[in-house]
């Protein structure tokens, strides 16, 4: 068991390259649950990112919000400008755990933890977020919607760190997010979905219904094409090609598929002329 405590980004990237088995840790809201048992068992190594100042700050550019990898849910909840420009970020953040988790959990950690139930990821993907991946060899940009390859698999090299999340500044005509859990706080999602529309461009992103958080591209096409929809089940064929929910400890495949269709139908009914 080894703990690395880099004091700046260069040191963190050196350590990342030299010790690819050391797990990067920031807020520890997920890793922390098992961290101690692994530590006592003598397995694993940790690369602590909380002492790296370059990762803490978020910044606005002319056309982007750049969330530092250390940005927490609470940072976003308390930032009026972010809440105004990207209301779904604050809405999703307030449904993660409760304040003790919001104060520690980071958006970047949520992305690379790669849980299918990640609550921060659908809204980031619905805003077309782009990930900044850095190693000693340079910086690479990957759209979040291309980042996941399968369950807990992603386009992240062993020497790379996720250092920032870039969110394009755009005006959306429709922005919506809903999370369904067993209770309104401290609950892992049974099914969740974020939707944005900008002119004729739709983004529909669901979590907890596939091996990864995923864009529902067939449903997006259905919305673009303006196919008539008069009840939730009319969305089922498109959703069936987009998602593959399973039965697990929190819910069932049937419940998830049905609720996802109903959430979308009732959210979009007043927004889409093709919905009646």
């Amino acid at each position: 068991m080894t703990v690395f405590l880099p004091r700046d980004l260069d040191e963190a990237l050196d350590l990342r390259a030299e010790h690819p088995d050391a797990k990067p840790i920031a807020g520890g809201t997920d890793l922390g649950v098992h961290w101690r048992q692994q530590t006592i068992a003598g397995s694993g190594a940790w690369l602590d990112l909380t002492g790296v100042p370059e990762l803490r700050a978020s910044a606005w550019t002319d056309d982007e919000l750049v969330l530092g990898a250390g940005a927490t849910y609470w940072d976003v909840i308390r930032d009026r400008e972010i809440a105004e420009q990207f209301p779904l970020l604050a809405r999703a953040a307030r449904q993660v755990g409760a304040v003790q988790i919001q104060a520690r959990g980071t958006w970047a950690g949520n992305v690379v933890n790669a849980s299918p139930a990640a609550d921060g990821v659908p809204v980031l993907m619905a805003y077309d977020a782009v990930l900044e991946l850095r190693s000693r060899n340079g910086s690479f940009l990957v759209p979040l919607s291309d980042f996941y390859l399968g369950y807990k698999r992603m386009r992240l090299d062993p020497d790379q760190l996720l250092t920032g999340i870039r969110i394009p500044r755009r005006t959306y005509e429709f922005e919506w997010f809903e999370k369904v859990g067993s209770r309104s706080a401290q609950a892992i999602t049974k099914v969740g979905v974020a939707v944005t529309r900008r002119a004729a461009e739709w983004r529909v992103v669901a979590n907890s219904v596939a091996p990864t958080v995923c864009r529902c591209r067939a449903l997006e096409s259905l919305l673009v094409d303006g196919l008539p929809v008069s009840r939730p089940s009319d969305l089922a064929p498109a959703l069936a090609s987009d998602v593959s929910p399973i039965d697990d400890i929190r819910s069932t495949a049937k419940y998830r598929a049905e609720v996802l269709a109903r959430l979308l139908y009732w959210a979009l009914r007043d927004e889409c002329p093709s919905f009646t």
């Binding site: 703990v3 520890g28 961290w35 006592i40 940790w46 602590d48 755990g97 304040v99 003790q100 104060a103």
Partner: protein, 164 residues
Amino acid sequence: MSGDAVIEIRLTLNGESVVAQVDQGDRLLDFLRYGRGLTGTKEGCGEGECGACTVLLDGLPVNSCLLPAWQANHRVVETVETVPEDELSALLESGATQCGACTPGVVMTGWWVRRNRELADTHALRELMAGNLCRCTGYDGIIEGLEAWLASAASGRPGSEEGA
């Protein structure tokens, strides 16, 4: 730093500068209770669900059971021992405590709300307290007690000298 079983950390703990040696596997909770004898902070679930172990880290409530002690390096940590006793009278009078297991965590989140009154502009008290579970299910008493505490602080009773 690498490979050492013991890590030196420096932090501000309850207003005091502290330099301490912690084991790599120590949680902040372990450091507080066993390293410093601050046993007011309780372990509940041990996995970040219940909030019994809530302390303030740089002024925000966190679960000390999830935090490696080495992440407290260069931070400011406050525990329930720093809350003045006369601050707690409203909670006692309202019967906000039953078995008491969740109470230190409830007090710490309440203390944070009490010192950051602007939170009430954006958050309901129950949302702010959602990370503190009470398995006696005494939530109404807890919320009433906290409301009385906040009201007494606002009207100049104990603690208000600190300002809102």
